[in-house]
Symmetry: C2
Subunit: 338 residues, 2 copies
DNA sequence: GGTCACGCCGTGAGCGCTAACATTTCCTCG
DNA sequence: CGAGGAAATGTTAGCGCTCACGGCGTGACC
């Protein structure tokens, strides 16, 4: 929407008149169509430059041209994982000439299908859902059901969809099991889990590993997303001298636990081993540096976009190009003291 | 773009036929126009629901309806300040029924005006620039020059634009001076500054305060945006026993300094006081908790959107509704030891 | 009973662009 | 040198919607 005044923006016809050609020729030039004589092309380009013409995306979309836009649906763009995934999508989208629409949903609201679809610019529009919680997982499902071809979701947490070709996800389950196993191998008798809301993969990996070692998993401790919530949720756990190892749903929670442990006077990693998830940039520089899991969110965002694009344009399915999750052992984990 | 197959999406005409009215009446219903009989309205709404009709935004935009979209231009959506500002814009935009387009720019690239404008969906489109570095500041200027009415920029760093009505910004200069003054009042003889690239306000506030106290400011130490870069950039500073207080361009840098100080065996705040900027959620839970400055990015994002909307719709200029920057003293700052 | 007003609804045009087809131009070759 | 054909350009229609009108019916009022 143009503000207040300003003359009508220049259209393809203005350019055509200026260059002395038909509007269709101008269209061909701006779309790099082959069949245009070099001299004509130059004339048109000059006219475009002189007039400061810029194509109108709405008109283009309407006329049936390749729309080239993706809508990203998610709940919280300021969470590290989400922000990085978004970044990956944006990078890839920009490189491919797509524009990115971001639509943020309220994690506490139940959306109807209409609400969801209303967020897309038109029926059948391409979308990517960054799904970390119930709301987004539901959205991902609904969207996929409604428009099977044009939807891709990232980091979905539900096992049953894991292998679906429209879902891109990091295998946090296996690496959670690995992290748990690592703690067990260090000599810990039990590993506790501080859970972020709604992430099944990590939780399952943790209990799998415990089960494989013949250990009955304790109840996971539920936390909110924030550092504050984690510090709060972990106070009891941290105060219990029998607890020697805590796996956390992400690095924020790990920082919260570290904080709580410090308050409770428990030494890390002497009294307590703490492992996070996500490898925030800060993790390596925390005092002490945090043992965590590297998760290539940006790569997965790129991957999601590439997959979407392949679906859209019918190209071959691109090969996954992101790093596998990996445990990074730093200084908040070690053998139990005794 | 619709994927592969699928029948033509349902249009306003399909709904009209189904409801036995004209397309224009349908248009009136979906736009909540007043002059429609209740019975007709109900019929149309039923038809819409049965057919699963959803208006096409491109067509709407093209036909001259209120477009209701904002493009946000910025460099790095995963930086805390940027992410929060974006979040604020999104919240406000969603509430007003606007959709949000995000366009990420490369901080190391010089963009031509054409490049910049090409990121907007059409000529004269509304845009907000989140400007933290040179690239975005330049973009903000260029955009404002080209379409004075429809551009608002957030957190611009250049003094001369500070009072422009199209620029929303937090007064980090004054609070930087306050933080510096606070350190001086604690007894520090000198305050050093570790700078993020391109932020004039904080740097100026710092040197102002020093000058006001009759102290010659040392050269600011330049750092990159990352914790790693900060830790690296601060090594010499931290190793110098004469340095007792460091003000940092943001919390990431402060964490880097803290890390470097720890490595160098200097106690905080005993040997060294460190102050950050931004008040990351983590700052309060760091060990020790970080003294920093609360900056209401989310509020400023909201404010930027409201201002833009007022410009667009000609409403009254909304009153600023964000918190003023405030120094939050925690445990990384105190009097020098001796 | 005619006029006017008003509430409700329909018709036509056109936003800026692209797809499909029609037409012209120009070169090639027998 | 004229036919044939490809290359280059023009013409027309229409995407889905909104805007500006115009038309029709009902009721009020003189």
């Amino acid at each position: 929407m143009s503000a207040a005044a300003g003359p009508r923006p220049v259209s393809i016809f203005d350019v055509a008149k200026r260059a002395g050609v038909s509007h269709q020729t101008v269209s061909r030039v701006i779309n790099d169509a082959p069949q245009v004589a070099a001299a004509t092309r130059a004339k048109v380009k000059d006219a475009i430059a002189e007039l400061g013409y810029r194509p109108n995306r709405s008109a283009r979309a309407l006329a049936g041209g390749a729309l080239k836009s993706v809508t990203v649906l998610t709940t919280d763009t300021s969470l590290y994982g989400t922000a990085e995934t978004l970044r990956g999508i944006e990078d890839a989208a920009r490189a491919a000439g797509f524009s990115v629409l971001v639509s943020v949903m309220d994690p506490d609201q139940a959306y109807s299908e209409a609400d969801l679809l209303g967020r897309l610019p038109h029926d059948g529009a391409a979308a990517i859902v960054i799904a970390h919680d119930e709301t987004t997982v539901r959205a991902m499902r609904a969207l996929h059901e409604r428009q099977p071809g044009a939807t891709v979701a990232t980091c979905g947490e539900h096992q049953e969809d894991r292998d679906a070709d429209w879902l891109i996800s990091l295998d946090d389950r296996t690496v959670a099991a690995r992290a748990t196993r690592y703690l067990l191998d260090m000599g810990h008798r039990q590993v506790h889990y501080l859970a972020i809301p709604g992430t099944a993969g990590r939780r399952t990996g943790w209990s799998d590993a415990l089960a494989a070692a013949g250990i009955t998993a304790p109840a996971a401790v539920e936390s909110g997303w924030s550092v504050a919530a984690a510090a709060e949720a972990a106070t009891a756990l941290v105060a219990d001298p029998a607890v020697t190892a805590i796996l956390c749903g992400n690095d924020d929670l790990a920082f919260g636990v570290l904080h709580a442990a410090h308050r409770a006077g428990r030494a890390v990693p002497g009294d307590l081993s703490v492992i996070g998830f996500d490898d925030y940039p800060l993790a390596a520089y925390h005092v002490p540096p945090l043992t965590t899991v590297d998760l290539d969110f940006r790569g997965v965002g790129r991957g999601a976009f590439e997959r979407l694009r392949a679906m859209l344009e019918g190209g071959p399915d691109p090969r996954p190009s992101w790093r596998s999750p990996e445990l990074i052992v730093r200084e908040t984990s070690g053998p139990p003291r005794q």
